[in-house]
Amino acid sequence: MSAEERLRTTYREAMREAIRDALRRDPRVFVMGEDVGRYGGCYAVTRGLLEEFGPERIRDTPLSESAFVGAGIGAALGGMRPIVEIMTVNFSLLALDQIVNNAATLLHMSGGQLNVPLVIRMTTGAGRQLAAQHSHSLEGWYAHVPGLRIVAPATLEDARGMLWTALEDPDPVLVFEHGTLYGMEGELAADAGPVDIDRAAIRRPGRDLSLVTYGGTLGKSLDAAALLASEGIEAEVLDLRTLRPLDSATLLESVTRTHRAVVVDEGWRSGSLSAEISARIMEGAFYELDAPVARVCSAEVPMPYARHLEEAALPQVARIAEAARAVVGVRG
């Protein structure tokens, strides 16, 4: 195949291809989680892998989040490279003890003796009318915890490329996949492979303000930037990609160029990742700012079911554009 050859694919297929590739490349890799095998994965990411790799490496687990996440930690300590799938971030709360008290702490508590090379994938976010126990964006909570790496692939390249890099990392990496992205279609280089999991990326350059976002709100931010461009406002769109450790350098460089920032995050605003980003801009680029940092977050309610209420609760293109106009001093 030529390096330029591009294939039509989806985020779901790119993620599956990344898992398949990892299973082929490294015999230590295996997949474990609820309905990852016979059912084919709650979001069909792992469909077909059981047939290809067998039940030893594609392991259906009982509904025991704490046990199978902890088993992932133990297996990682024991020389394997597990990919643990949790159906949704809300369910990961049942494994919080293992993630926060073990995965994140073992290296430190053991004085550097025991690293945990574990990858945990989970779905996050709203937009599918799944109500308050399947729709939250809690990745910001995990991004609070030293010892964890948190990544949020928002493009086909990252869906295809982040997993292998995460598996090569000696420490636990949590991969947050926004539920609305699985069906996202596009073109991907036929030879797409591993990508870094350290740096933020400028997805659209612009001079007037920085839209700082990640995951499920990247697309909305790009749409808002296109809308703003038609009004003569050039918004730069920064995809954080990695939520911990945050790539402050790229963030501050962007804001230093544009002098204005709007943080777009599907998490709630109180005590949040968006608050952290805003604080970092204030700490690192205060004198570069021409306007206070603005935020577009989810309404502070448990996510409602009704479509119109859910839409109203979530960051939307119109709200992002409105916030952008306000920071550049243009009234909508």
Binding site: F30, E56, T61, P62, S64, S66, A67, F68, V69, G70, A71, G72, I73, G74, A75, A76, L77, G78, G79, M80, R81, P82, D97, Q98, N101, N102, L106, L107, H108, M109, S110, G111, G112, Q113, L114, N115, P117, P146, G147, R149, L167, E168, D169, P170, D171
Partner: protein, 333 residues
């Protein structure tokens, strides 16, 4: 499998029985010193003593080889010593010194030693069980005939992680030796006050694994049960659950006035102290005399004095290293 089916116990091999006595005494004397050092404020944080329960760790460790793994709790000084982690680095850990077995980052509750496959030192009740299941899963997937011994108190039986882990280990037939140290109290709450069904073996058996109670005050009984269980586990028979019936002679930690149990109960259990019991048995059979015992005590005293000197002479990690070991210093597998 039941305790009743065990073969009659052969008389203890003199050298081996003496080794068991030595191990229990090491733990006892080491912890007595820890209590003293705690009162002298050389050790801080929480300190949970194992005194009274030594037969459990010492007996079970006899069934393990260096290739096996151990997961323990926050009351794990005895397990670490019995597993072969040297006393000096254990004590230095409690001193918060760089020479500690966890570089002073864990303290009494978080002793680790990769060399001995000693995986802590887990201070969340029940939190070690899923990890033990995972270590066993790794061994099973790599076709290694190893055992992971997982120690936990009977208080852990109330945690969801216990049930999830028992089920998963049995479902996947994983080589875990579940060692439930039933000392009757979860901190201050008696078993009968926290469990609707207080027969722990019945609970374990409901997951489809062999489970039997063992007199945890008799080191020979513990060793025998552990050997039998480990053999079954190692040969691919799936997990086994041992309920090791024991008793903590001291307070839960150094801050416990022990309002929840009668002094008479403590005294009654002390009559079953595993160390004098084994001493007496050995004396009775002419396998141990005053001279041997005095020599044993002297050797252990010397070891502990050496550990104290090691800890005292230890250094403090420079504060500039505070943020090390949050992420690995070398990336790329």
């Amino acid at each position: 499998m039941t305790a009743g089916s065990a073969a009659p116990r052969p008389p203890p091999d003199a050298a081996h029985a003496a080794a068991l006595l030595r191990e229990m005494l090491r733990i006892r004397r080491f912890e007595e010193k820890c209590a003293e050092l705690y009162s002298a404020a050389r050790i801080r944080g929480f300190l949970h003593l194992y005194i009274g329960e030594e037969a459990v760790a010492v007996g079970v460790m006899q069934a393990l080889g260096p290739e096996d793994a151990v997961v323990a709790t926050y009351r794990e000084h005895g397990h670490a010593l019995a597993r072969g982690v040297p006393a000096g680095p254990i004590l230095a850990e409690m001193y918060g010194k760089l020479e500690g077995c966890s570089r002073g980052r864990g303290g009494s509750m978080h002793l680790f030693s990769a060399k001995q496959r000693f995986y802590g030192g887990n201070a969340i009740v029940g939190g070690g069980l899923p990890v033990a299941v995972g270590l066993a899963l790794a061994d099973a997937m790599q076709r290694q005939p190893r055992v992971t011994a997982c120690f936990f108190g009977e208080g852990a039986v109330a945690e969801g992680e216990f049930h999830e882990s028992m089920n998963l280990a049995a479902l996947w037939s994983l080589p875990v030796l579940f060692c439930c140290e039933n000392n009757l109290y979860a901190m201050g709450t008696a078993l009968a006050l926290s469990e609707s069904e207080s027969d722990l073996c019945l609970k374990a058996a409901s997951y489809g694994m062999p489970a039997w109670p063992v007199d945890g005050m008799d080191v020979l009984a513990v060793e025998e049960a552990a050997r039998r269980a480990a053999l079954a586990v190692r040969s691919g028979g799936g997990p086994v659950f041992l309920e090791l019936r024991t008793y903590r002679f001291r307070a839960h930690s150094m801050f416990d006035p022990q309002l929840y149990r009668e002094k008479a109960e403590v005294e009654a259990w002390k009559q079953r102290d595993p160390i004098p019991a084994l001493e007496a048995a050995l004396r009775e059979q002419g396998l141990l005399g005053d001279a041997e015992l005095a020599r044993l005590e002297a050797e252990i005293g010397e070891e502990i004095a050496g550990a104290v000197a090691f800890a005292e002479a230890g250094t403090l990690e420079p504060v500039s290293e505070l943020e090390r070991f949050v992420y690995s210093e070398r990336r790329g597998a």
